[in-house]
């Protein structure tokens, strides 16, 4: 029970923060708002929790359920009070509307049956995943060589003692710790520390509950986003299911302990919150977007790359007139630089600046198209890029196109020019690296496909209004 209540606290905190933030009329679309707030709110709360734990550790305050939980509870109460004052008039209507939508009361006939069936299907999936998380002790390799190692030490010592490279460790005479990746950030281990504090013991199955929460939160947020973008309830739920059903995503919930799923959720939510802010210009979208983006490097080291890769989307959105040219120019320059480095062999400051182009096609095709990792995501990506080619740079889609385009270039660069190609050939890391971008990629596919579908409609019915 303590574990459940303890992980409800970040939910309340995050939801209260979003609800307390001022929003303008454009930022209050109504449809899907509660789902978006719950999903992104849990994740915000879970990140704020780790920020507070870092503060406590820096202030040499020992970790305990009280030291961590009470101040966060007070903060949540304060924010809830502020949110109540700001949005008192809307809460009852929002909850009633959400309940009606959840029960499918706005639908009738087979759409309602499909809605309920899809909800049950999603519920079954998350029930199965929850059983795996609750029963299975920490299983996948890196989880117990480089992530939970830190969690165990920090939980037992009640503080974030440093992890250092081996040379420093040998000199530290016990003052510092060592594991397989001492330079990895602490967000994910801090989640496990919080779970363990709530449990009062080291239980390397139950401590992974936040991975399940991450899966649920991401699912809720995607649904809320799609509803907010004007998708009908059943269409939004179908789109959400497509994202949540990706097998490799489910595996990272079931075999909890890696940072790739939190990374995927954080990147997706950063991009989607940013996208919402572009539309709404509302602080209630801006603050989450900035928070998610700023946290990317604190989840896993590739976050340092994913963070700047959000910038092309921002440039395209903020400067619609020149932004696309700037981003296209930057991408082209990067591509040319890569090609030049691949063809030359010059030395700069003692470093040999040569890149060897060797894209492991076979491994990549197996990972994306042949094996069961992604269901049909990559076929959909190819289909959306071909069918929706005229809409990729439409003002409403171009920012996300810039982000996923940059993300795909980053992945291809890694696979084609670095030793990561080995991880494609042996199928070891290719899917985990891709998972970071995958949920966002599927949302982008759905948006592009809708734009194409609307276009075919206007082509068939000349009198119909053009895409807004």
């Amino acid at each position: 029970m303590a574990l459940i209540l303890g992980w409800l606290l970040p939910l309340v905190l995050g939801v209260a923060l979003i609800a307390a933030l001022p929003r303008n009329e454009r930022g209050d679309t109504g449809a899907g708002e509660l789902a978006w707030t719950l999903g992104s709110g849990w994740f915000i709360g879970a990140l704020l929790l780790t920020f507070w734990m870092r503060v406590l550790s820096a202030a040499s305050v020992q970790f305990s359920a009280l030291a961590i939980g009470v101040p966060l509870m007070l903060a949540a109460a304060l924010l809830l009070g502020l949110a109540w004052r700001r949005r008192r008039a809307q809460w009852a209507a929002t909850l009633r509307g959400a309940w009606r939508a959840f029960a499918g009361k706005d639908l009738a006939g087979w759409p309602r049956a499909a809605w309920l069936a899809l909800l049950a299907w999603l519920a079954l999936r998350f029930a199965l995943l929850l059983a795996e998380v609750v029963w299975r002790p920490l299983y996948p390799w890196d989880a117990w060589t480089q992530w939970a190692t830190k969690a165990r030490v920090w939980y037992e010592l009640k503080s974030m003692v440093p992890f250092v490279p081996v040379a420093q460790w040998l000199e530290a005479n016990g003052a510092a710790y060592y594991d397989a990746a001492p330079h990895y950030p602490g967000t994910v281990p801090l989640w496990q520390v919080w779970s363990s504090l709530l449990l009062g013991q080291w239980d390397d199955a139950l401590m992974n509950l936040p991975w399940w929460c991450t899966g649920v939160a991401l699912t809720l947020a995607v649904f809320g986003f799609l509803r907010g973008e004007g998708f009908e309830p059943l269409a939004a739920l179908a789109g959400t299911w497509l994202v949540a059903a990706m097998p490799i995503l489910d595996v990272h919930v079931a075999l909890a302990g890696y940072a790739d799923l939190p990374m995927a959720a954080c990147l997706t939510l950063a991009a989607l919150a940013g996208y919402r802010w572009i539309q709404s210009r509302s602080p209630s979208d801006l603050v989450p977007a900035l928070l998610f983006a700023a946290t990317l490097p604190l989840i896993k080291n590739p976050g340092r790359i994913w963070l700047p890769l959000l910038l092309p989307g921002l440039v395209v959105a903020l400067w619609p007139r020149y932004g696309q040219r700037i981003v296209a120019g930057a991408f082209a320059a990067a591509a040319v630089a890569l090609l030049v480095l691949a063809q030359t062999n010059f030395v700069l400051l003692g470093y040999r600046m040569h890149l060897t182009l060797d894209l492991p096609w076979h491994g990549l095709i197996d990972a994306y198209f042949t094996l069961a990792n992604w269901h049909l995501l990559w076929y959909a990506v190819v289909g959306a890029a071909i069918l929706g080619r005229r809409h990729l740079l439409a003002p409403t889609i171009a920012p996300l196109t810039a982000v996923v385009g940059g993300g795909l270039m980053f992945l291809i660069f890694g696979f084609a020019f670095t030793n990561a190609r080995i991880w494609v050939e042996d199928q070891s890391t290719v899917n985990r690296a891709t998972l970071h971008l995958a949920p966002l990629l599927f949302v982008w596919v759905i948006l592009v496909f809708r734009a194409w579908a609307r276009d075919t409609r206007t082509a068939q019915v000349p009198a119909a209004p053009a895409e807004s």
């Binding site: 759409p111 269901h375 076929y379």
Partner: protein, 412 residues
């Protein structure tokens, strides 16, 4: 707008209908989309079968299986264990040869499949056979190895695959990196139903969690002749193509926007994949429950794959001091090194995650601890109270715990 226009496909694709839509109800129109999917799937399947069925589509012969008990290890050494012929080494020339006496008509059985695992991919592997037609001649054909398993060999086009077959054999030329486990050999008629059944079994084979599951999901058996995602994607593409042509030339037949048709087919294909995936998940959860449900954290580890290691570390922890101490962990296998270290935290553990190395003796200080688990090359002299290892390294140490699998020392 009809109510059906609010479906996912229609709402995303627009609610228009083709000019001649009025004659057909939306329900019937969607039924025709389902029919399109079935027709495209049937067409893809028939085209595939036309390419791969080597003989009769509906042969009268049934598959013939010879289990491990029927096999003879003609060259090499091994034992029969648990229904498998476990070959541990080839003969002096590097040859492993397993044979079976058989009698069947080659025309009835175009394919032979050896059921085995652990075969090195670098080895020259062949299937051999003798026949009544040329009893003095031993014919052979190469066998492709994937993930340590031999793939079925289609022999119907081989000129030597004639008459009555009197014997089959599998030859492996080259060193064995691990024991090769052979379960038997199957002569297959390779009819359409058998091929489809084989594929269905591959797709529905239980894929339990392994160390690589976090990286990749095969989608059933490790080796599959046909990928289900590829088949379904092809089916969707074909169905959309047919739908597009129908809308163009017989618009009355399919009065739905092509985008809606595509989305509905895509969702249907994904649903097929997701049902398979969820079914696998159900079976996995059942297995996980049997292994772990109702157990406390300690008992879960004792029920886990690394139970002996955990039990040893558990004993070592009772010898180690309460306060975190510096502990060096060494083991030949990286899994044991890393896993032992994990179980030892919050002691201040050192392990080499990449190489089977031991720190220099000069790095060890009095009061440090050393955990040795299944590590060759470590010698301890109780008389001298001295620990020695590779390259002449040695250090004074006291043996604190010994176990058939490992030992714990304190550096003096």
């Amino acid at each position: 707008m009809t109510r059906d226009a609010t479906t996912p496909a229609a709402s995303a694709a627009g609610s228009d209908e083709a000019p001649a839509a009025t004659a057909l109800s939306p329900r019937n129109a969607w039924r025709r989309v389902a029919l399109l999917f079935i027709v495209a799937l049937a067409a893809s399947t028939l085209a595939y079968l036309a390419l791969v069925v080597p003989g009769a589509w509906f042969p009268s012969a049934a598959p013939r299986t010879w289990e491990a008990e029927n096999l003879a290890l003609t060259r090499g050494s091994g034992i029969l264990s648990g229904g498998e012929l476990v070959v541990t080494a080839p003969d002096a020339t590097g040859l492993t040869l397993v044979s079976v006496v058989a009698k069947f008509r080659s025309a009835d059985y175009p394919s032979v499949a050896w059921v085995a695992i652990g075969i090195p991919e670098s080895a020259d592997v062949r299937v051999l056979w003798s026949s009544e037609y040329a009893p003095q001649t031993l014919r052979n054909a190469p066998v492709k190895i994937e993930a340590g398993r031999p793939l079925p060999v289609v022999l119907s086009a081989n000129r030597g695959w004639v008459g009555n077959i009197t014997g089959l054999a599998l030859s492996i030329q080259g060193p064995l990196t691990q024991p090769v486990r052979i379960r038997g050999v199957v002569a297959k008629p390779m009819g359409a139903v058998e091929i489809l059944g084989d594929h269905a079994r591959e797709w529905l084979a239980f894929e339990s969690w392994t160390g690589t599951s976090i990286n990749t999901i095969a989608g059933g058996a490790d080796i599959q002749d046909v990928s289900l995602p590829v088949l379904l994607a092809g089916t969707v593409a074909l169905a959309v193509a047919i739908g597009y042509l129908l809308r163009r030339f017989v618009p009355r037949w399919l009065p739905l926007p092509i985008a809606a048709v595509l989305m509905a087919l895509f969702v249907a294909a994904t649903l097929v994949l997701d049902v398979r995936w969820t079914w696998n998940l159900v079976r996995q959860v059942r297995a996980t429950g049997v292994q772990y449900a109702g157990k406390d954290p300690r008992d879960k580890h004792l029920a886990s794959d690394d139970a002996p290691l955990f039990a040893f570390v558990d004993k070592a922890r009772k010898v180690l001091p309460e306060a975190p101490a510096r502990v060096f962990v060494i083991a030949d296998a990286p899994y044991f090194r890393d896993r032992a270290a994990y179980h030892l935290y919050p002691h201040n553990v050192y392990f080499d995650p990449l190489a089977n190395s031991i720190p220099l003796a000069s790095a060890l200080r009095p009061g440090d601890w050393l955990v040795v688990y299944q590590r060759r090359g470590i010698q301890y002299s109780p008389a001298e109270r001295r620990l020695r290892w590779d390259a002449g390294q040695s250090v004074a140490a006291e043996l604190k715990l010994v176990d058939p699998l490992g030992a714990l020392f304190q550096i003096q």
